[in-house]
């Protein structure tokens, strides 16, 4: 069975079959034109002039074999396709419309979504780049006009971008991946002409905002040139991945952990049904085989394409609301943590397993003479670890402004009252170093007292009973969480030997108050994530994007179980001026574990 091929528009290198035509058009006198037409034309020309300096010709170090891109901020960060940088290698050359060639380096990659973030190096440190703003691709409609810009056929040796003008043919389109990669979900279909070399270039709306990244077309009998059907990755999808890309990650896409099938009945609209559910977060939240998927991430589900479209919008690990219906009874809304698509390398920090399947081809060599090579640091799980360090350190610096605790290496004690498992309680947490049994050194000891029970944890003990880290029961590991919290505040990077990296952007949802219906749109806070690993335990820390406050963290003691979710709020300054949370809420699985008010923080140096 043959099916139309959907091939990415990477320029293969050779200039083949290029036809040059000379067009002779009757010149229409300007004064004869309708005023509105002239205005529309002038506006279009002005928009093209405005965005032109931001369009990039992406080339390999030898100055050929590339695609296009678009600069999205004054520091020279630019978007392109993954399949473009896969050909150029991590260090490349970038031509701008000013005719100059700049050095560029890969920042982050999204192999499944076919997106890469690169950074252009200014000719002089501090020089700013012209850039284009990102628009809202959800506002784009079939029938809108669009402009595609780039360097098709590598035509322009002075890097003046080619502009083509055309219609949006469809939105929310789904295009199957090639293998597991280059899946175009929720993409924009255009009749705007794109050709080999246009890959990675911007699709603009008529206000000059970037609404997509042009990447592929549908081809069948006609050759691999414009067939009237091109596709651009929607910019709103890319925005969800932007934090990951800026953090130098090799970002993974999401899967639900179930297959969604259409019931495929004649007549009425499609019912989407959950099948082959794996042991995953969705299952633990209550989803079951045979349930009808009503909506996913707030979008109603009417076809398999629609489901795949929405799934493709999110990075692995994001939580999204899901509404399902069982046996025609009432609907239920749950918050689902999405699984990954590709195999994980990062978290198995001890023995990363080689990935099965085709081995990654050895990429082009990094030219050592390029100044961009100094900004490239390879590391497993990252596209470029150099940029992860930049983002991580920026995040930490902002966090430290709320309070520097590095001097408080002594005993910490905080206590108060509240509710735990629907009972009133007082609580106290104490972390301090105590002499080891052999008397030769010291080790941290955590004590927690809640609901009249006392818990003790020596987190660095090598042979811990499995229940100790997860104590108290039904909290998922509140005691471990408190230890890691102090560890982050006091030790910072030095406290986490396993991993200490930026994890991109992610929404976090404050817990739903007991007895209330969830309103996830209201409960949602956009955060920047810090990932740490210490003493065999992984933690994800959520810092509010708005002001850098640590609003919560998730402690994963056992990867096959739900984490202990800790939510921090009611920040107030303590004696030394540092701000600390005075409300601590813990949620585990489907239940709120506790809601505590801190009445006193005692920190010793």
């Amino acid at each position: 069975m043959t099916s139309p091929t959907r091939t990415p528009f990477a320029w293969p290198g050779l200039l083949a079959g290029l036809c040059l035509g000379l067009l002779l058009a009757p010149t229409v006198q300007a004064q004869g034109l309708d005023k509105r037409l002239r205005e529309a034309e002038e506006k279009r020309i002005a928009v093209i002039e405005k965005v032109k300096p931001s369009v990039v010709a992406v080339l390999n170090a030898q100055g050929n074999n590339g695609g296009s891109g678009v600069v999205i901020d004054e520091n020279g960060y630019a978007l392109t396709n993954f399949h473009v940088v896969a050909a150029t290698g991590p260090v490349m050359k970038c031509g701008l419309a000013d005719g100059k060639l700049y050095d560029g380096v890969v920042v982050g990659i999204d192999k499944v979504g076919d997106v890469a973030l690169i950074k252009l190096l200014p000719k002089k440190p501090g020089n700013k780049f012209a850039f284009s703003r990102m628009g809202d691709s959800d506002k784009v409609k079939a029938g809108d006009w669009s402009l595609a810009m780039g360097n098709p056929f590598l035509l322009a040796t002075d890097f003046t971008p080619t502009v083509t003008f055309g219609l949006i043919s469809g939105v929310h389109r789904y295009q199957y991946p090639e293998g597991a990669l280059l899946e175009y979900t929720d993409c924009i279909q255009i009749d705007t002409s794109i050709n080999p070399g246009n890959s990675g270039g911007p699709l603009f709306n008529m206000d000059g905002e970037v609404i997509g990244i042009n990447g592929r077309g549908s081809f069948e009998k006609r050759s691999r040139i414009n067939s009237g059907v091109g596709y651009a990755i929607s910019i709103n999808q890319i925005k969800n991945f932007m934090g990951h890309l800026r953090a130098g990650l090799d970002v993974d896409h999401a899967s639900l952990g179930a297959r969604i099938e259409s019931e495929d009945e004649d007549g009425s609209l499609n019912k989407m049904v959950v099948r082959a559910l794996l042991e995953c977060d969705a299952a633990r939240r209550g989803l079951d085989n045979g349930d009808q998927l009503v909506s996913f991430a707030n979008r109603p589900m009417g076809s398999v394409n629609e489901f795949k479209n929405v799934l493709g919008l999110f990075p692995r690990g994001w939580r999204v609301p899901l509404v399902y219906r069982r046996d025609n009874s009432s609907k239920a809304e749950i918050l689902v943590r999405l699984m990954g698509v590709q195999r994980q390398v990062v978290e198995d920090d001890k023995n990363p397993q080689p990935q099965p399947g085709p081995r990654p081809r050895p990429g082009p060599q990094v030219p050592s003479n390029s100044p961009a090579a100094k900004l490239y640091e390879p590391k497993a799980g990252f596209a470029n670890f150099h940029f992860n360090k930049l983002e991580r350190d920026r995040l930490l610096a902002a966090f430290r402004k709320q309070g520097d605790f590095s001097a408080f290496k002594g005993e910490w004690d905080w206590k108060g009252s509240g509710e735990a498992q629907e009972q009133k309680t007082i609580f106290e947490v104490n972390v301090r170093d105590e002499k080891t049994a052999d008397g030769k050194g010291t080790q941290p000891v955590v004590r927690l007292s809640i609901r009249g029970l006392d818990y003790k944890l020596e987190p660095l003990q090598s042979k811990l009973p499995p229940g100790d880290l997860k104590a108290p029961a039904k909290s998922g590991g509140f005691i471990t969480a408190m230890y890691h919290y102090r560890q982050l505040l006091v030790m910072g990077e030095k406290g986490f030997e396993g991993d200490f990296s930026h994890g991109g952007y992610e929404p976090m949802y404050m817990p739903t108050p007991a007895g209330q219906k969830p309103d996830y749109t209201k409960q949602r806070i956009m955060t920047e994530v810090l990932r740490t690993r210490h003493a065999g335990t992984s933690v994800k820390w959520f810092f509010s994007q708005a002001d850098g406050t640590l609003v919560g963290f998730e402690v994963t003691v056992d990867r096959d179980e739900d984490p202990c979710e800790v939510y921090l709020s009611d920040y107030k300054a303590i004696e030394g001026g540092q701000k600390l949370p005075h409300r601590i809420q813990v949620h585990h699985g489907n239940e709120n574990y506790c809601d505590l008010k801190v009445e006193a923080w005692k920190l010793a140096k």
């Binding site: 139309p4 309708d34 079939a142 055309g166 469809g170 006609r222 009237g228 059907v229 007549g267 499609n270």
Partner: protein, 360 residues
């Protein structure tokens, strides 16, 4: 009637076209797209092999679910289905085909009461004059099967480049329809686009997008649509002439009597001397029953029981295809026959002769 006005397209006229299209505010094409989309259906049928798409497009032409599309192997199935713009899915039955116009009428086959579908009023539209070259157009179709269920059609924009006779073929099959078509400057005729709508920029239907065909002279792919006003003259039995039109097909529905093109064809069939086994089922393989003595077939070395697999590289899946292809080959043409004899493939060369007068 040959219209030549498009050739003398003056700057004045171009100006008029441009002005007309610019009179609408920005974004209105999106509204037009939303208005046209509900009158189109996605068609799913047989195919999916050797470059034949198993999907296509259709136009709703009545509130109770008659659908106009182009003739294609896609329709050659009992399991023909359509998806409406709101996501409803229905089975369809074939009503009639008109080979000279290359169009087919199918109907939604359901027990549900259907009487309020949005539709194109073909009778009214067929009365309008064809639009001129230079007119801005939109094309709507489910090319490349991008959409299913309630996902909207692809919309493309272009201009009518010419209004002229279609001279096209697909491989060595000549196009069935030979009347006037709108040639479009956009790449509209992709896989699955056949049966789609060509409209003006304000959404008025002017044509039905045709198949994937190549220009006879240059072998380049043509982007064309059959005008809704299309009518062609056919010669029926006893040399009776008759005009057939899209409007007539749509109006008469079940009562429409197609021109019997196949019968006419056999009468004119070029002489090759191959007698095939009786064509009894839908997909009878073209086995040779007999080779006429002294015929081109005998000279070519064809033997009874040979199975004809390819003619000039084109696969011949059944007797119908064999007849169709032989009807399009000019006398004196040398064709390459690939036949299966036993378990081996053989290539033979046959020169087609003039049609012979049939003994009465």
């Amino acid at each position: 009637m040959i219209r030549q006005r498009w050739m003398v397209c003056s700057a004045v006229m171009l100006l008029a076209c441009i002005t007309a299209s610019s009179a609408r505010a920005d974004g209105s094409l999106a509204q037009v797209a939303q208005q046209v989309n509900p009158k189109l259906v996605k068609v799913f049928g047989s195919g999916g092999f050797r470059g034949l798409a198993s999907y296509g497009t259709g136009l709703i032409v009545s509130p109770d679910g008659y659908i106009l599309t182009v003739v294609s192997p896609l329709l050659d199935t009992r399991d023909l289905r359509v998806h409406l713009s709101d996501g409803r899915r229905y089975h369809c039955k074939m009503i009639c085909m008109e080979p000279e116009l290359d169009i087919a009428l199918v109907k939604i086959d359901t027990k549900e009461k259907l009487d309020d579908l949005p539709y194109f009023d073909i009778s009214a539209l067929a009365k309008k004059q064809p639009v001129d070259a230079g007119t801005g157009v939109l094309a709507f179709s489910n090319q490349f099967q991008i959409a299913t269920r309630d996902e909207p059609m692809s919309v493309q924009r272009g201009r009518v480049a010419a209004y002229a006779k279609l001279q096209a073929r697909r491989g060595i099959f000549a196009a069935a329809y030979k009347g006037n078509v709108y040639v479009v400057d956009a790449i509209t005729n992709n896989p699955g686009a056949g049966g789609g709508a060509l409209t003006t920029r304000s959404g008025e239907l002017i044509g039905i997008i045709g198949k994937e065909l190549q220009n006879e002279a240059t072998n380049t792919w043509i982007n064309y649509a059959i005008p809704i006003s299309a009518a062609v003259e056919v010669i029926e039995a006893e040399n009776k002439k008759r005009m057939v039109s899209i409007a007539e097909v749509v109006e008469k529905k079940e009562k429409y009597a197609p021109s019997r093109k196949d019968e006419l064809k056999t009468k004119e069939e070029n002489y090759h001397g191959i007698v095939l086994v009786p064509d009894v089922v839908e997909f009878t393989p073209p086995y040779v029953e007999e080779v006429r003595p002294g015929s081109p077939a005998e000279k070519a070395g064809l033997l009874p029981d040979d199975l004809i697999v390819y003619i000039d590289g084109e696969q011949i899946p059944n007797i119908k295809a064999f007849k169709e292809i032989m009807g399009t080959i000019r006398p004196g043409t040398k064709i390459a026959l690939e036949v299966r004899r036993g378990d081996k493939l053989q290539t033979l060369s046959l020169t087609v002769a003039e049609p012979r007068k049939k003994p009465r």
